[in-house]
Structures are given as structure tokens and as C-alpha cells.
């Protein structure tokens, strides 16, 4: 008799963005004429850069002729893209990686979800709280997260990040096998300094822990002192896997391309004490369960590393960051406590009533603007909401005007 993987059943039935959609729909039924502006889901709105469009047309044309047709590509991605990544995202920061340490994927979500397959099912995990739900949910599905007790998973260490500790998670006093870090952070929009990140690397090296470092929003960093990659820290290659995405960097949420760095120096132990290279294991995982990313998407990603490509994607990033700036100044003018938004496309707002969902509903009914309740990202998100800067200028400005009118 086929039995179900019962770990799946431990997951809560409600899912953050589905719950939001439900509440928005309920509102629409009551006020069908209201024009809602969503600053909720972190999806981009601006079209792809001209160099990307051009590269994709060219790739499509190649596929129409036998001489240039491409079938299966390497599961790890094409070298033209892996090399462009090395040359542009790492070498200029003094990080020397090998091409075999870069794995192209169809977006960071897949790999941040799948990476836990490499470690033992009963390893403990730690997450900053609030956090992107995929980290925990993917561990729940295999049983690694344990069971829910008082709204928290029993085998997960939650490291609160709130205004009270200036969004700086405390390094655990005991050993945690695997730690998920995301900087610039989704959802809080806050960043980590090199000094703080160094503490984490040292912690991992000392405890033989692994850091899964999600750098999906690194392109939004404006402060030159903020690290773009954990490999800017000495020793990180021995303890960290890093995830990158073109989704927000270049508007690829519909194109699907990103990459993961698994350094060859990184090992994990067997019960018997043998050290195993995770690079080799991840390669095996990808070759078995993945067949490479669309050739057209890979050519699209390559194009953003050309001189024109860099300029064009920077323009769009600047466009979004202008939204963030306006949001920060408006919210502050209105007396709200707000965080993030300077090196990340997210604004984290501390609600006055201390209740994420209540604020969400008040804002929806009062200003017809959708935000994301912070508690949906974890217990320490209660009392906050997230706004994204990915809207158009027009919609963002209008949303802010409505909020101003509503809050006064």
C-alpha cells in the first residue's frame, strides 16, 4: 500500500499569499468598483532590458536552423554564462571561483528549496526570523523541521530580527548544523555588515556548520561597505553555499534563471567522520533531477553582463529604488517607523497597532492598498508589514497619496 509522506500534512493549510488573495477578493466583492494597488507580492513590473530582448530573439533564431540548434545543454549551465558570472559578479570583488563551482538554475527558489537534500534528514536548522517561507517549508517536507509547538517548528532555531535588536540576529550560543541567511533581507529589507557576516562565518567554521546564503537581492545594495557575497569574507568557501537570482536583478521572474555557488572547499562529514565535497553531491543531484535551464533564458542572462546590459538593468534597479526612497520619506513623514528600503527593494513598516493582519485589513479597506502582513514570514514578523518597491512610479505615488489621506 502506497503511503503518503506525512510530513507534508504538518504544513499549515493556509499559505501567506493565498490568504492575502482571499482577503483581497472578499474586499472586491464588497467594493467592486474600488481600484486596488498592490505593493504586496515581490514581483517586478518593468519590461526586460533591450539587450535581453535582443539576446532572446537571437537565441530563438538559432533554434530555427539545424546548424545552430541546441538540444540538451549541460545540467550545470552553459559555460558562456558561468564565465560571465565569474568575471562580473565575483572577480571584481576579488573572489576567484572555479567555473565548476557555478550551477545555473531556473531561479533561486528551486535551489533554496532543493539544497537541503544534501544534508542528513535530522540535522538542525536555524533561520533568521522573519524569513522567506521556502527555507522552513522545504525542511518540513522531509521531516527535518520537526513538529509545530507554539507556532514554531521544534527542530528549527528562530533568531529574531526586530527593531529592538536593530535587525541583527544574535549568533546562537549552541551549535546549529545549518543556518539560512538572506541579505539584503527578504522581507525586512535590512542588510548585514561585513563585521557581522564575519561573525557568522567564524561561527560556522568553529561549529562545522553550513550557511545557506541567499543573495538574491544583492544588486540593490547601494552602500559600498555592504557585502554583495558571503565569499567576500575569508573562510566562507569552507562553510557557505550562495544563491543568486536574476529575477529581481534583471526582471527575470517570468524568464526563470539564477545560479548557485557551491565551492569545492566546502565539505560535510559522514557519521564516520569522512569529509565529503558538497560540490560533487550537488552536481550529482542536478544531473539526476534537473536537465538544465532553457537555452534562451541563459542567453538572456548572459546579455545583462555586457556593458549595455549592465547600464540598462541598473536603470531599472534605480527606478525601483526611487520608489523605495519616496516610500521611506513618505512613511517617515507620516510618523511610521520604517526599515530597509536603502539597499533592498523592500520596506518593513512597524504597525502602530502591533498586529500585521489588522493593519493589512485597515490599509486595504481604508486606502485600497495591499501590503504583506509581516507575521506571514515568521513569528517575529508580527506587528510589521512589508511593502515592495517593484511597482510603477505612478501606482506607487498614488498608493502613497492614498495612505497619506487615510492615515491623517
Amino acid at each position: 500500500m502506497a503511503l503518503v509522506n506525512e510530513h507534508f500534512l504538518k504544513l499549515p493549510n493556509n499559505y501567506l499569499f493565498a490568504d492575502i488573495a482571499k482577503k483581497v477578493n472578499a474586499f472586491k466583492v464588497m467594493q467592486p468598483k474600488a481600484e486596488i494597488i498592490s505593493l504586496g507580492i515581490g514581483d517586478v513590473t518593468q519590461p526586460l532590458a533591450p539587450v535581453v530582448i535582443e539576446a532572446m530573439h537571437k537565441a530563438v533564431d538559432e533554434m530555427s536552423v539545424q546548424a545552430s540548434f541546441r538540444g540538451y545543454g549541460p545540467e550545470q549551465g552553459y559555460d558562456f554564462l558561468r564565465q560571465a558570472i565569474l568575471d562580473n559578479d565575483f572577480l571584481p570583488r576579488g573572489i576567484h571561483l572555479d567555473i565548476d563551482e557555478i550551477f545555473i538554475n531556473d531561479g533561486a527558489k528551486s535551489d533554496t528549496g532543493n539544497i537541503q537534500e544534501l544534508i542528513r534528514w535530522d540535522n538542525s536548522i536555524g533561520v533568521t526570523d522573519p524569513i522567506y517561507p521556502v527555507y522552513i517549508d522545504s525542511n518540513v517536507m522531509i521531516g527535518r523541521a520537526g513538529v509545530v509547538e507554539d507556532g514554531k517548528w521544534s527542530n528549527v532555531l528562530y533568531m529574531p530580527c526586530t527593531a529592538e535588536n536593530n535587525f541583527t540576529p544574535q549568533i546562537p550560543e549552541h551549535r546549529v548544523d545549518v543556518v539560512y541567511l538572506c541579505y539584503p533581507n527578504n522581507p525586512t529589507g535590512t542588510v548585514i555588515s561585513k563585521q557581522e557576516l564575519r561573525k557568522w562565518v567564524n561561527y560556522a567554521l568553529k561549529n562545522d556548520s553550513i550557511i545557506f546564503y541567499d543573495a538574491a537581492y544583492q544588486a540593490f545594495i547601494t552602500d559600498p561597505s555592504v557585502p554583495h557575497s558571503i565569499y567576500e569574507i575569508r573562510g566562507a568557501r569552507k562553510c557557505a553555499i550562495e544563491f543568486h537570482s536574476f529575477s529581481k536583478t534583471a526582471g527575470f521572474t517570468g524568464v526563470r534563471c539564477g545560479y548557485t555557488v557551491v565551492p569545492k572547499e566546502l565539505t560535510a562529514a559522514t557519521i564516520g567522520g569522512e569529509r565529503i565535497e558538497l560540490n560533487r553531491l550537488w552536481n550529482r543531484r542536478q544531473c539526476t533531477k534537473f536537465n538544465g535551464t532553457s537555452y534562451i533564458s541563459q542567453r538572456a542572462a548572459e546579455a545583462i553582463y555586457t556593458p549595455d546590459g549592465k547600464k540598462q538593468i541598473q536603470q531599472t534597479i534605480d527606478y525601483y529604488m526611487q520608489n523605495a526612497k519616496l516610500m521611506l520619506s513618505t512613511f517617515r513623514k507620516l510618523g511610521f517607523e520604517v526599515y530597509g528600503g536603502e539597499n533592498a527593494p523592500y520596506i518593513w513598516l512597524k504597525t502602530t497597532n502591533g498586529n500585521s493582519w489588522k493593519f493589512f485589513e485597515e490599509l486595504l479597506y481604508g486606502a485600497n492598498v495591499v501590503c504583506t502582513p509581516g507575521v506571514g514570514f515568521g513569528p517575529s514578523g508580527e506587528g510589521y508589514v512589508r511593502f515592495t518597491a517593484f511597482g510603477s512610479h505612478e501606482k506607487t505615488q498614488e498608493a502613497l497619496q492614498r495612505i497619506e489621506k487615510w492615515s491623517v
Copy 2:
């Protein structure tokens, strides 16, 4: 201390196609001027259909303008493609599926590898032997396959398919929780009749087993009595998940798109006896670990269901099947025992010496033609080799002429 998932270490270090590449490279070093023709790896060679190229250009253009730009799509795929699949792949065969039962993916390999996440880690599995290695390897990685004993995995039931039993696997006498079937079969190129498939569905219903049915090659079926989908069999919705791919159907090995059918009627039990819908679980899995397939690839797939698209992809399928026909007749003329090739793009040849790798090397050195050693697909593949019909006519003809010269 982070511990490695030691199940990965049980996998053999050698990987079929890597081993082949190694041997081919060794040959090239010795005979650098020899021109090798590969009929080994099952990758397509003909360019994409004009309708597909047109649809992709159009989709790329949409992404260049804000009004038509698409960000995140549904994790389950766009309804335009799901509906086209329902209307063309199922309705004409009298199969009524719900749109929510179709999950678009980035190729069948991902889903055939990931689907085992839904079932308990200690469920037993059965495979026809020889078989596509992903089915077993993905189960090895989570520990479900057990350990290797005499070249076989201890928790896997192997159902031999050889010339001796006319490539018809015997229905197991005891209960197996999950059975992987692939028809038309990779690697043997053989098919299953409705009558035989009905036995499997009845077996699964009786034993409360689940069938993972890989139909990736269904477009190559020419015999009208051969089933294209397991859902042509009554009761299959209660016990089967089906995998489809556009990789071979429409030359999408580099475009990356396929789909999986998870009927709502299909349930698996908890230890406590509760029945759980796998459709809901797979949806949760995909929403957590997958972010949808490239919009451009989905528009490409949609185009093959237009009247022109159907004609164009059929022309390419016919092109490959002409290769298969010529291969079958040539091999038979030369006195080889060959199977498959009539409803599938693979020819399964029984070697005269009974040794897959020995034949592989003799053919490589004697005719400079690459085939795939059958033993690489499982113990019952020993003594066979696989040829693919995916080459160009010119290369295929030349390879056959060389084989003729070499074998006489």
C-alpha cells in the same frame, strides 16, 4: 556539525553517459582524425518548428513592453497551455481531466525525479528493467532504494524485460507500493498493449499501489491500438500519475517544457488510514520548490497545438521515424535481433557477444559509431545496446553504411 546525506554516497561514482564520453575521448586520442557518429544519447537534432519560433519571438516581444510584460506566472503553469493540453492530448481520447490536474514543468526529468517526495521514505518501489536511471537514482538519494546487493538495490523490485519474455514485465506476485512504468519504453523502444496496461492498473487498484507512468515518447506511437496515456484505462485516475514531455515531441530538449498529470481521485494513505489527495500535495510541493516554467517556453509549447503546429511537429517525428525504419531494416538485413523502433525513436539491439560494453567498444573502434550500452540501464540490459533515431538522415545513413561494412 553538518552531516552529509549519506544516501548520496551509495550511488555509483560512474554515470552511464559520462562513462561513454570517457571511452569516446580515449578513442579520439588514439585516432584523432576519425569522424565519430553518435547514435548514443537520446537528444534531438532537428530545429524547432516554425510555429514555435514565431510564438517565442512574439512572447519575447511581449516581455519588452510594460503593458504585456509577464513576471511570475502560476507555479502550475499558465491556463492557456494547460487548456491546450486538455483539449488536444486528452479530450480526443475520451479522457476528461480538470485543468487543476495538469502541472506544467521544465521537462519530465525534474518531475519524474521529484515525484517520489510525495510518498513515505520507506515505501517499496518496482521498476521494469532496463529503465531510465532517474527513477532509481532519485529514490536512492532519499534512502528509499536501500543498499546495493549483487548489483541491485535491496528495496527495489526489478521486473526484467528481455527478448525472452517479449519485453513484457511480469506483474509482481507480492505487493509493491510504487511502480514506475515507461511506455513507449526508454531504452528498449517497446510498447505496452491496452490489455497488459489494464493488468497493471488492476494490480495497482487491488494493492493500493501507485503507478508513476512516463509517457514522454507517446507522440512516436504509430500503431492505433497502443495506448498514449494510462488514463485510457478505466480506474487509472485512482492509481496513476502520468509524465509528459515536449522534449522529443517537439524538439524542446533545450527549451525545457513538459507536464505532469496528478488526478484528484488519486489518494495515498496515512499510517492511520486517512486518504490524502496527492494532487493537493504535489501542488504544495510545486508552490514551495518551483516557480513556474519560462513564459516563453510555455508559449512555445502552446504553439505546437495549433493546426500548423501539429503538422510541423508531426513532420519532424516522421523524419526521425524514417531513420528508425531504415535502422531496423538494415540491422535485420545484417542478421541482428532488434526490437523497438516502430512506435518509439529507440532501437534495442541484441548483441551477438552478449556483452553491452564489449559491443559498444567494438562498434566504436570498428565503425566509429557510438551506441549506448544496455547494461547502463539496468542488469537486464546486459547484452543489448540502444541506438537512437534522433540523428539527421545523412549521419544515420552513413553510420549504417559503416556498421554494414564493419559487421560483414
